[in-house]
Symmetry: C5
Subunit: 86 residues, 5 copies
Amino acid sequence: MLTAKLVDSIWATRKADSLNGFKFMQAEVIGGSTTGQRLVVVDTIGAGIGDKVIVCTGSAARKLLGNDEIPVDAAVVGIIDEDCNV
Amino acid sequence: MLTAKLVDSIWATRKADSLNGFKFMQAEVIGGSTTGQRLVVVDTIGAGIGDKVIVCTGSAARKLLGNDEIPVDAAVVGIIDEDCNV
Amino acid sequence: MLTAKLVDSIWATRKADSLNGFKFMQAEVIGGSTTGQRLVVVDTIGAGIGDKVIVCTGSAARKLLGNDEIPVDAAVVGIIDEDCNV
Amino acid sequence: MLTAKLVDSIWATRKADSLNGFKFMQAEVIGGSTTGQRLVVVDTIGAGIGDKVIVCTGSAARKLLGNDEIPVDAAVVGIIDEDCNV
Amino acid sequence: MLTAKLVDSIWATRKADSLNGFKFMQAEVIGGSTTGQRLVVVDTIGAGIGDKVIVCTGSAARKLLGNDEIPVDAAVVGIIDEDCNV
């Protein structure tokens, strides 16, 4: 998994039907030499802009959604505690 | 997922039979430290050159196609709204 | 797999239900040109901060857990022996 | 997928039994910021040294082979048309 | 797949039970712009330190082992012939 900061929402009115209703956000990797790398993540646990989160990628993202047919490859799996040194 | 701009079409007359009929495009990653990385994506939702899109990679791309037997590892899943800050 | 050093614990009180009870740690890649890259790993074999470990990524991480439904993409699979040249 | 140029053949007399009969080639990524990255690909569609090709990676490569048990993670899926701007 | 040189053995006395009996080695990518990147690979075909090998990564590594439950994501699939230009 990666540590990332949610930096913005992202909107795509035209998208795959199976993605309707999902919330997409831009995340920026924090920590280590890949800091500053960006990816688009799905959030289902109520994270918001500015939160530091743990992101899983690849097929793991669909495990979070509990549906292996959704075309998603990155999802927020946890919100990092504020007193955590990340 | 990644944010990318569609920069060109790409044509391969000789290709795997299972890819016949699919539209391939060159996409260039935008945003973050991987800006400028290129990949070839399949588009099934009507995106065109110049559009900013969300691209999913890996097995997720086949979920979009609804057919796990197609040898594809990247696909456009959404067209980013024009007023979106990407 | 990657060689990495466990550098810290990481806490996420709000997280996916299926992740309750798992221990998450921050790992930093050691050795080779990706030294300094960071990732979040699950540990189930009793590794601690400062240990050098072997980390598997992707779907392999769920093989370690013996449960393919957990949204995890990186896990400690071994603790590197102290007399090993890594 | 990636755009790459086939730069050489590669021979491995000692290899996994399941790989007997496959043609392996060295490919070099062209286009974008990962230009110059190398990978080894399987070719089953008759590509040759000097050809510019589309390469799929990961589990998609086994979809091309039509056999999910072959230990392969990259394959040529198409030969880019010569008049194509890549 | 990647071309890599096996540079050392790696030992982990404490490891996942399912990894007992496997030989782990450190490999360093050779060729192209990712030269010098390191990864840990499983060898089952008798490769040794100093050999140049072809490494498959991801789920393909488990195809080599013929057991999809082993938590492994990289394996030697072939030893590159000595007269091969790599």
